[in-house]
Symmetry: C2
Subunit: 158 residues, 2 copies
């Protein structure tokens, strides 16, 4: 492997985990709540899917890439902890919408802030050119892993 490929590989193998751990520690310091990363990400997905009123169990499980069964388990504890409520669809009674409570909204905002600060810190170390190219390159990586990318970002119209 060339040096830059090694760099990329190292990032995927090592830095990945560092980032997760970093986030975990940051979350622990975010007093007043004892949510794990998975739980935070579940809430994140709820807010994300809510924008299009697609915050049903099935949609959220698929957004998270976990099975419905796993989601049910996670939702149960978040419901018990007071971060979510479930609401039956009146048209299709098989369907449940997951609704975040005010405290979930608060925690989600904190989490968003944390992410923004992290990104800002990272970007602060990059030149403008590097920042732009990084975004484009990551968009392509993302495409490689089968995700949709907003076409403007993909073409570099940032």
């Amino acid at each position: 492997m060339t040096k830059d490929k090694e760099q990329l590989n190292h990032f995927l193998v090592v830095t990945f985990n560092d980032i997760l751990r970093y986030e975990e520690r940051a979350l622990e310091r975010l007093a007043n709540n004892r949510l794990s990363i998975s739980e935070i990400h579940l809430l994140e997905a709820v807010f994300e899917t809510m924008k299009k009123k697609e915050n049903t169990s099935t949609n959220i499980a698929s957004a998270l890439g976990i099975t419905l069964g796993s989601l049910t388990t996670a939702v149960k504890t978040l419901e018990r902890k007071g971060y979510l409520i479930r609401e039956r669809d009146q048209n299709d009674k098989r369907v449940f919408y997951l609704i975040p409570t005010p405290i979930a909204t608060f925690v989600n905002k904190k989490h968003e802030q944390f992410h923004e600060e992290m990104i800002d810190n990272i970007v602060a170390n990059l030149s403008f050119e590097e920042e732009k190219t990084l975004a484009i390159a990551l968009g392509k990586v993302q495409t490689y892993f089968g995700e949709e990318v907003s076409s403007s970002a993909q073409k570099g119209k940032i």
Copy 2:
């Protein structure tokens, strides 16, 4: 957040998990062994630390960012499955070296190949400039998360 910051954020939040899942599925197809990602990464760390004869439990646990207790548990099952043996240091009898067996070497090679192919595929979608900048930018991200980076890569001498 600007578009490119959003791109970076999305990568950290979503693409991360996609990559892990992708790898997991690839490992499952790698017949003849039923090792989890964690186990593969443990083996990887054993090989990595072995280069400098630092393949002791404590070193490997710290390389993986897990506690010694967690490592002990993992090692026990890898020992039972025949991927590792433990060897006492003759000078310091508290210390154990973890030694991979031939089958572990085989699996690790396969895993390395998989990573190389993945990286090649990603890089194939990038222009030379993008590839170079990506490596530099990731090096800086890595630095931000408190890792050492080879100085040549850091300065862009790639």
